[in-house]
Symmetry: C2
């Protein structure tokens, strides 16, 4: 099954729907009206219906969506009905924050390996339990641990090397936090996290307000 | 001037265009074809034209966009032709990474005040120069420094208090990194950063590949 024409904005919204549905599920809500779900996620109701329509028919007219069922379906679509094993490269302040962040395990993402090149760090164990390995051991550990996703939290000038090592070691996708555009082979899956893009959104709204 | 009907995805893409144009500008590129700019940003050319059309007429048919001019216009639209002063609440690993992150000053965002409640941290000065103040001094400092944006990097259970203090102190917008939905007054501008949403995108693509 290939859904090649699904806009990436739809996938991002599916993530948001799943977060809201998760919360509703934990609060024991069984059914939610399409309008209410839309409102909770900050999108318009037509958009919710359009996004879901790519993947099938969900919900009952005049009733709404069954929370548990829709959550299950969305998680299946996103591939979140399994645990994803991740390796982190670069255990500075940002890397430490990521490894300790409670949202990752909660959403099914697990850091099973942590790498750095700093001799002062290599060999130590993190409060979250992982031992810090030298990047020279990446190939062996990523294969042994069946890591699929690499996360880069190195300084900018080491990010390209980190990416090359991760790709050589066999990861299938990379999430990059370093403030640099990383070159990857054609077709390789990479996402960049740029905190300032969110700030531009705030700046735009603040500017519009006073004009 | 109010652009109330501009989709937020358009604003996010304008950020990406400005990043690419900035790079082109620094590499002394004077003119770029619409298709090339689109490709560089990973969107389709029609989308670029549609996004820009909300704000006026840009580019010359058969020639493309003048890099410097378009960059200037997009920065004006986004409100990036000024420096934005920010206050950080919570100087743990994540907060320290944010304050040290080179992308913020590069894009015009400056942390001018840093707050925490930990007596072991308050009073110390960060490598980047800011002194750490107790949140009790927030109201005075945010007013004195004319801070407009508050950034929350506290643990989840302190994020709501941090938001309340920031709003009381007079910030106009909040960027929240804590893994919790913060309640703000109707109409107040808040953006949440959830790292796992990007991972869901990777997971989706990895899942689709093997199905």
């Amino acid at each position: 099954m290939k859904f090649s024409k699904i806009p990436s904005a739809t996938i991002t919204r599916l993530s948001l729907y799943s977060r809201s549905l998760e919360e509703l599920y934990h609060n024991d809500v069984k059914v939610i009206a399409s309008d209410k779900l839309a409102q909770k996620c900050g999108v318009n109701p037509a958009q919710v219906r359009k996004d879901l329509a790519y993947f099938g028919e969900f919900g009952v007219r005049g009733v709404g969506y069954f929370v548990k069922e829709l959550l299950f379906e969305i998680k299946k679509i996103l591939g979140l009905n399994k645990r994803w094993k991740m390796a982190l490269v670069g255990i500075g302040n940002l890397g430490s924050a990521l490894v300790a962040h409670e949202n990752f395990p909660k959403q099914g993402y697990e850091f099973v390996a942590v790498f750095d090149i700093d001799p002062a760090k290599v060999g130590h164990r993190l409060p979250s339990g992982q031992k810090i390995y030298h990047v020279d051991e990446m190939s062996r550990l990523i294969s042994e641990q069946e890591v699929e996703i690499g996360v880069i939290a190195t300084p900018a000038n080491q990010a390209q090397n980190a990416a090359r090592a991760l790709i050589d070691a066999g990861v299938k996708a990379i999430l990059n936090f370093a403030p640099i555009q990383i070159q990857v082979p054609e077709g390789f899956i990479i996402e960049n996290v740029d905190f300032t893009v969110k700030l531009d959104n705030l700046a735009y709204h603040l500017t519009m307000e006073v004009v």
